[in-house]
């Protein structure tokens, strides 16, 4: 049953854009791209938030770090995006480890506020640091590439193929992230994370260094956010502080994770598949009417989160689906 569902899901994710592309539509590929990015970020946040049980309210800092590192390497040194992504992930993980270690002594909402504090400090730095372009940020020029392979390797899709190219790039990154998380969940590391979450004293009693594993967990989260940041930067063709340091890069994945099921591998995926299309459907139905751009989709998100928190805080995946579907 599960295998069939998984196979169908994989098939749908690979095939659905093709007929649309052939008919000249690109809109739904972009929706798919946003769903995949959010799902990927949610998978990343699930490590620190779901498994290690630390409320990280500032993962968007590492989304920005990733975007900036790859963009700088590309603009100043001509390093291609995928190579830049490796560097971005490495820098984000190292920076995250250095920043997070001192915070791991704080618990619960103290930790949450500390992660917000780091984000608040990052914003003026991003806006005033001339080396990374200040508040103007960096503009990513499109370099023409001949052939599909070299375009894909440079992560610079243009023209009618743009939406499709980024969709499949996001699908690849998402699949890698999902596979990595499936491995982490069943590895010793995953058990350490959950041990620290469930009972920190007991975990320390059996020799698990809780501070170390909180740092490791958040660094894994940072790695995923950085990789997604690189993809987003090359899609948007620019990086500037107000865009990549926006709070929603943190809150949307968190909401997706909570809606789907926090601490469950497929939770963030389900959440992203539900939440992102809601926002897209609303912006198309509201069109240019009086309520367009008035945050109606975010009102709906707010209500969904409130209902989940009040009635099913463990998320939709925790509902007894097996019993219902039989």
């Amino acid at each position: 049953m599960r295998r069939i569902a998984l196979a169908l899901g994989v098939l749908a994710a690979i095939v659905y854009p093709i007929p649309l592309q052939l008919q000249g539509y690109t809109y739904y590929q972009t929706v798919g791209f946003l769903v995949l990015i959010t799902a990927m970020l949610g998978l990343g946040w699930n490590v620190i938030g779901g498994w290690a049980g630390q409320f990280d309210f500032g993962p968007q800092v590492f989304f920005a770090v990733g975007a900036y590192v790859a963009a700088l390497l590309f603009v100043r040194r001509g390093v291609d995006a995928w190579l830049g992504m490796l560097a971005a992930v490495a820098v984000a993980m190292a920076l995250c480890a250095v920043l997070t270690y001192p915070l791991t002594g704080l618990r619960g909402h103290y930790f949450a506020i500390a992660t917000v504090a780091i984000w608040m400090i990052a914003q003026p730095i991003g806006a005033t640091w001339e080396f990374i372009g200040g508040s103007q940020g960096l503009f990513i020029p499109v370099k023409p590439h001949a052939g599909v392979v070299s375009t894909a390797l440079s992560l610079q899709f243009t023209g009618p193929m743009k939406a499709l190219g980024y969709y499949y790039s996001a699908l690849v990154l998402f699949a890698v992230t999902l596979a990595l998380m499936a491995w982490v969940e069943r590895s010793k590391l995953g058990y350490y994370f959950r041990a620290v979450r469930d009972d920190q004293e007991a975990a320390e009693g059996i020799g698990i260094d809780s501070r170390r594993y909180k740092v490791v967990a958040r660094s894994v989260t940072a790695a995923v956010f950085a990789a997604a940041g690189v993809l987003y930067a090359f899609w948007a063709l620019s990086v500037f502080p107000e865009q990549v340091l926006e709070l929603n890069w943190g809150t949307l994945p968190i909401m997706a994770t909570v809606v789907g099921g926090i601490g469950r591998l497929w939770g963030p995926v389900l959440g992203a598949v539900i939440l992102i299309p809601i926002s897209q459907i609303m912006s198309t139905t509201l069109g240019t009417g009086p309520l367009a751009g008035r945050g109606i989709d975010l009102i709906v998100y707010g209500i969904i989160i409130i209902l989940i928190a009040a009635f099913r805080p463990t998320g939709l995946l925790s509902l007894p689906w097996g019993r219902w579907l039989r």
Partner: protein, 290 residues
């Protein structure tokens, strides 16, 4: 030198306003140990209410304090009774989610109603005072801020007496310390929590009605004050009312002194840097009891 002294004086005056913003959170978070990430949205509602009453009805923001305080008291108790009571017993994460949902709901309902434009109260008692300045030892005191700071201090002291010196305040503290024991001596904990949420919401809305004389109002104005309030409450030591006042003054001074030497964008960065530093070396805050 005068510039620095002036900055410190300005910071202290802002600090009194911040104290009023933060003290509602001291009650909800510090005393009753519940999380509210929508605290700034309560402030935003207070600011919008005061702005609307001023522009559409012609009520001065200082007078609007009374109806807004009463309304937001009701709103706060409602939020507790309908939502927070449900999530209180479970995982603390659930409280975070619930109030983040509330944040999105409130913020964007106001966006839907009023758009994200910045709005200002053009004419009020406090803005009309803006020509008047007092000079003392070469330091200038603008009348509007001075009056607002004085008002904030008065309200703050009234709250302090309410919490520390009345039977109601003692009941609130008893509930925060031991819910079961409080129940045994005839205090209804659910009621105390509802009142705490009501008082917290009312206080921050009143702070909003005062702040609206100095800051632009827009739906997203809340978050910066939420995090500022969290930093202040944590710095002051959870649940310590006077600690909150002192921490708010420190935060106000840090902000205004930072602006003397660095671009204004860094105004909050140093507040949070000091929060991080103090959090690392003195997690119980400057005045924490435990």
């Amino acid at each position: 030198m005068t510039e620095l002294a002036q900055a410190i004086v300005n910071g202290l005056q802002m600090g009194f306003l911040y104290a009023l913003v933060a003290v509602g959170l001291t009650i909800i978070w510090g005393l009753m140990e519940m999380i509210n990430f929508a605290h700034g949205e309560f402030l935003m509602l207070g600011m919008f209410g005061a702005w609307w009453l001023s522009v559409a009805v012609g009520v001065d923001p200082l007078l609007a304090i009374v109806p807004l305080g009463i309304l937001m008291y009701g709103f706060g108790t409602l939020v507790y009774r309908l939502l927070m009571r449900r999530v209180q017993g479970g995982d603390p994460f659930t409280q975070i989610f619930a109030t983040i949902g509330l944040l999105f709901l409130l913020q964007n309902t106001v966006v839907a109603g009023f758009t994200s434009d910045y709005r200002f109260v053009g004419d009020s008692v406090l803005t009309r005072l803006s020509g008047i300045k007092l000079q003392l030892l070469g330091i200038t005191f603008g009348a509007p801020l001075l009056a607002a700071a004085g008002l904030a201090l008065l309200l703050f002291l009234a709250l302090y007496l309410l919490i520390e010196r009345t039977e109601f305040g003692l009941a609130l503290q008893a509930t925060s310390e031991d819910r079961e024991a409080a129940r045994l001596v005839g205090i209804r904990p659910q009621r105390m929590f509802a009142v705490a949420w009501g008082v917290g919401a009312a206080l921050v809305a009143i702070a909003g009605a005062i702040l609206v004389n100095f800051f632009a109002v827009y739906p997203q104005v809340g978050l910066q004050f939420t995090v500022l309030a969290y930093a202040i409450v944590a710095l002051g030591g959870f649940g310590s009312i006077l600690g909150t006042l002192f921490a708010a003054l420190v935060v106000g001074v840090i902000q205004s002194v930072t602006v003397v030497y660095l671009p204004p964008a860094f105004k909050d960065a140093f507040v949070f840097a000091s929060y991080l530093l103090i959090g690392l070396f003195r997690p119980q805050g400057l005045f924490g009891r435990f």
